[in-house]
Symmetry: C2
Subunit: 669 residues, 2 copies
């Protein structure tokens, strides 16, 4: 479609914004250098016509979709080779191209070789011995072999100890014999496993000298490197279509007496000697670290999802006109409806808060990693507890927020050309992978109940839970004056009390004779509630600290906007948990009404800058890939244009008319 | 797949249930006769192999999916002809076959000729004059012509007055000239419009003698009845892929000087005489009635969605074992985890309450229809207000409930073979069609604020809002003793206070100088909150009345179970709005803890009958169409079986390997 003028309603929004979106865009990208890198990558990848789909992927069959995605994945792999050859690659680049918004734009329903770069290679680096790294890494880097990471099974996901795949060491041949003894032991879900990878890291229960040793990772060749035919003993395929990420080629894998040499077990942390002697890892905590790392990264992904969804819905709401407010006036931009603002603006605020919190957590993680390297594991449990509940809360809120944005666009949000269905499919997946959300909240809760007991015994708690010490000293929270600080403090007081109630529930059930674990299960309702409030209290504090800090480094115009964002975030968060606030803090009906009026006031104050704020997220039109959300705002033209790409519309009369409908219509004549 | 034995974990659940699921199944179907009819229809349609897909629809391209769905739609049409010939058809049968669970099972992604039966024919019956009915109905009933109903436009949905399509009467030729003057005037969304229907009822702004007369319906021929080619002036096609209902063939339609004879305007309610004289309808309220009718029917649909989703997730949770509760014990059925019960059981309870409330509303609607026929329109506004908020609440809760069930199945719920993605796509659509949910809540709120003013003036209110009279007399609600009646009464008290706050907000803004409409817009947050509580108070009361009434007519064993369902529903509903309860009723932290403990107690008491309850919904395996939810519970076998139908798995090596991946892997060698 030729370039069009910007829709005048959208242009008006841009003309009247009170701050410079470019200033925010640079901050959002992580500084001027990263902003430049981002633009360069977008130019190199998004402007390549071979990476642009003529026919939108939603019209393809599952098979066509896979083939198209593999084609593009290989093109991207070629470009990555170029970047490597020029020394222009790096972790950020891989993340951007294979995960992130850019990656999702390039191979819309998922890149079937992404796991090769983001899991297979890093696992060899992290868990292979020096010799193993030498042996495998250059082949892997050069993509002579394509690997994936096979851990989850049909019968077991989050609970790793339940995995059934086993590797028995045969000292005579110096080989491991790997088996999936039952159907539920089949590996299930690894990306690219179906028809793409020819190698995998397979996680299995290790047995040597007839004794069980725990989990270990093995490099297993799956397919012939030349013919790509599955090797003997390998039962492999694609698990089928899904809600989202439809082209990832998630696979299944059954192994029947598959033998791999001794040296294919990754031996950096634990070893099996040729005679079968097992050398246990010095520190079992290290894998724990990787999971934390991934969860921290996911928090930033959820911010991106919200940024995309809120950009599309906000631009659409500036262009769409419907339903007069004042019957004497023409139909307004739907963004004038307060109820519409209430759907959109909190998502914008959450995008910003999740991003800054994600950055903060990332820094905490890096400090922690340094400490771990030095052998100091003190803050690991605290950080684990925090990353678990934040992963759960941010992913759940982001998924709900994407749907709120979609629904705010009415029927048009339901069309695939809005891109909401794809964004939702990717976002809601985060609620399940890398630790199912409820399991995550229960892990956090277990930690909170433990430290609550310590606090009762007078221990000083570590920083992220120190608010529990304070709350125990207070009986009532009296300083709720409505200031932002007081909302943050109130969140902490409420969280501490939720933890107290959960603690008391467990204690009560223990007194009734239940063991701690059964008592905890019976108190599940209370435990997840406590973990939820703990995470939200952290988010509130982090929002306050990070956004106030940023405000001091930017122009006054931008700082003013960020303060409205912060206030909106906190007031909205508080009202979303108002039951907990009223339960533990003495607030009146009038106090709540005041908070609700304040929410409305925040919406009104954000209104003039809503479009400029989403513009600041600086999402390329191809990244948004939405008829409703394009920068030029010509919504109806883009929607109509999308119908021209519909293969059904290539012929005025579909053959099914002649085959089925006409005979049916004429049958009784 | 050959019949397998029932999974022993699932069989154990059935053996230990305390009531007879068949008794409930008959009640659920609407009595013994309807139960028999249902079984007969299932036999006739579900056991026809031609209506069974060899390859699941999720593997098809959009075009293949449409063609397959049209094929099946014509087969169903043939069978409907048989039923008619035998006098075995009826409104219930059409609804079951074209909407409902059975319809969804037969043509999984939507039947492209369903709108012909459920909108085109009924519109001619409802809005055509006797002569017009004679002219069109037999052709339509016999499917000599296939029609659809074209109202919504690209630029306007819920706000009908904004429609732009116009029909100008030309007295000289005695024809209407119909035009879509802009792109946004294009008709958008009608099912079957794309490539299936050859006629449509087109809703347009009527002009005669140069004057605007309001909306009117016109029968417009779209395609040649023989060649199916679009007629001159008709621009028509499929709007493209969507989140769900992917095979409905939703279409767009542009009209350019399309002429239809005078007699093609449906003239039962309003007329245009040959000279162009316009005769206005006697009663503009009648169309209002149709929308209400549809919304009432939707409430029952939401119950079906929840029944399907909760059946799948509950059976899966009885079979899946993971994560020990007590580390000394083996992994339990995941339904043993309290947090899992908390996800599933409230959805079962909601399915039952939405169904009985839907039935109750249906009866109210029928009484009301009778009154309207007699010219008594008194209860119309009340009923409109109620149907709007219930449509919004039940659809939103059902969509959220389906997702909760999906997420409770972890990664497996994300696979299309679980059927959750399709159920969600159908359920969430209800939030938008037949009146967007927020608009619905605002319509209810407008009514509530009006009657609140009347109550303040001392008027006695009509039955469904009479609780406002009572609440105005009370200053405090003191009788919250935890009995189920007191929860219902408390809901009403809280709802009345939410209405009060909304009323006061509008009044306050009017005093500040805003007109009523602007004041209402500024108070949007308060208004939707009030409408939400009004609907939930009605649901609570209805749940209590209907389930207590049913309990008296069934066996004591079933009555006991239904009472637990009722208690669970009410306690859960109350906790979900606990912020509102605490805001207006003086409850302590300990009171809330008690409610939470009671919730857990309800879960525990429902636990032994959870599988029997979902069995009672009596959903045929083909209706569930879920590897996770089949009656025999052989979850892993069914999942694995589904991979055998995946076209990607028909070949061990996909051609894309040779075309793209191999050259890429070997490129640098």
């Amino acid at each position: 479609m030729p370039a069009m003028e910007v829709n005048p309603d959208l242009q008006k929004e841009r003309n009247t914004a009170t701050f410079d979106p470019n200033e925010f865009s640079v901050f959002w990208a992580g500084g001027a250098d990263k902003y430049k890198e981002k633009k360069a990558l977008e130019k190199m990848f998004l402007e390549d016509p071979a990476l642009n789909d003529e026919v939108p992927t939603s019209y393809m069959s599952h098979k066509e979709l896979y083939e198209n995605s593999l084609r593009k994945a290989c093109l991207i792999g070629e470009k990555i080779r170029e970047l490597r050859a020029n020394g222009e690659d790096g972790v950020d680049t891989y993340n951007a191209l294979l995960g992130g918004s850019l990656g999702a734009a390039l191979v819309k329903e998922g890149n079937p070789i992404a796991l090769h770069y983001v899991m297979f290679v890093p696992t060899i680096m992290g868990q292979g011995s020096m010799e193993q790294q030498v042996e495998w890494l250059s082949k892997a880097w050069d993509c002579e072999i394509i690997g994936t990471y096979a851990q989850t099974e049909l019968g077991h996901g989050t609970f790793l100890r339940g995995l059934e795949t086993r590797a028995d060491y045969d000292a005579q041949t110096q080989q491991f014999v790997i088996n999936t003894p039952t159907l539920s032991a089949y590996k299930w879900w690894p990306g690219g496993l179906g028809h793409t990878a020819n190698h995998a890291v397979v996680v299995a229960q290790l047995y040597t000298k007839g004794e069980f040793r725990g989990l270990a990772p093995f490099i297993v060749q799956l397919r012939d490197t030349d013919t790509h035919m599955p090797l003997p003993g390998i039962d492999i395929g694609d698990i089928g279509t899904k809600l989202g990420m439809k082209a990832v080629n998630n696979g299944y894998l059954g192994l029947k007496n598959v033998r791999v040499p001794l040296n294919n077990m990754l031996m950096k942390n634990q070893q099996v000697l040729p005679d079968g002697t097992y050398v246990a890892p010095k520190n079992s905590v290290l894998t724990y670290g990787t999971m934390m790392f991934v969860r921290c990264a996911l928090i930033r992904d959820t911010a991106q999802s919200l940024a995309k969804a809120s950009t599309i819905a906000t631009r659409y709401s500036a262009v769409r006109r419907q339903s007069p407010i004042d019957p004497k006036e023409p139909e307004p931009q739907i963004m004038e409806h307060t109820t519409q603002q209430l759907k959109l603006f909190p998502q914008i605020a959450k995008a910003i808060v999740f991003k800054t919190t994600g950055d903060g957590i990332w820094n905490m993680y890096n400090v922690l990693s340094g400490e771990i390297e030095l052998g100091n594991l003190d803050r690991l449990p605290e950080m684990h507890a925090l990353s678990c509940c934040l992963k759960a809360i941010c992913s759940a809120d982001a998924a709900a927020g994407v749907e709120t944005c979609r629904l705010s666009c009415g029927g048009h949000g339901y069309m695939d050309c809005s891109n909401f269905p794809t964004i939702y499919g990717m976002t809601t997946a985060v609620c399940t992978y890398e630790g199912e959300n409820t399991v995550m909240l229960l892990q956090t809760a277990r930690y909170l109940v433990k430290v609550y007991g310590q606090a009762l015994s007078g221990d000083e708690l570590v920083p992220t839970v120190a608010y529990i010490n304070e709350a125990i000293k207070l009986k009532y929270f009296v300083n709720f004056d409505g200031s932002l600080e007081s909302i943050v403090k109130a969140f902490q007081f409420v969280a501490a009390n939720k933890v107290r109630v959960a603690y008391e529930q467990i204690e009560q059930r223990r007194r009734q004779g239940h063991c701690t674990e059964v008592a905890a299960n019976l108190s599940g309702v209370f435990l997840t509630g406590a973990a939820d409030l703990h995470g939200r209290a952290f988010l509130a504090e982090s929002a306050y600290k990070e956004l106030m800090a940023v405000s001091k480094t930017v122009s006054p115009a931008l700082a003013d906007v960020l303060k409205v964002v912060l206030e909106l975030y906190l007031v909205d968060a508080c009202l979303n948990r108002i039951g907990d606030f009223l339960r533990f803090i003495d607030l009146t009906d009038a106090d709540v009404t005041k908070l609700e009026m304040r929410l409305e006031s925040c919406l009104k104050r954000l209104r003039p800058n809503a479009v400029a704020l989403v513009d600041s997220f600086d999402l390329h039109d191809r990244v948004l890939d939405s008829a409703l959300g394009a920068y030029d705002g010509n919504v109806y033209d883009h929607i109509f244009e999308s119908t021209k790409k519909n293969p059904l519309n290539k012929e005025p009369v579909n053959e099914a008319f002649h085959k089925y409908l006409k005979p049916f219509m004429k049958a009784h004549l």
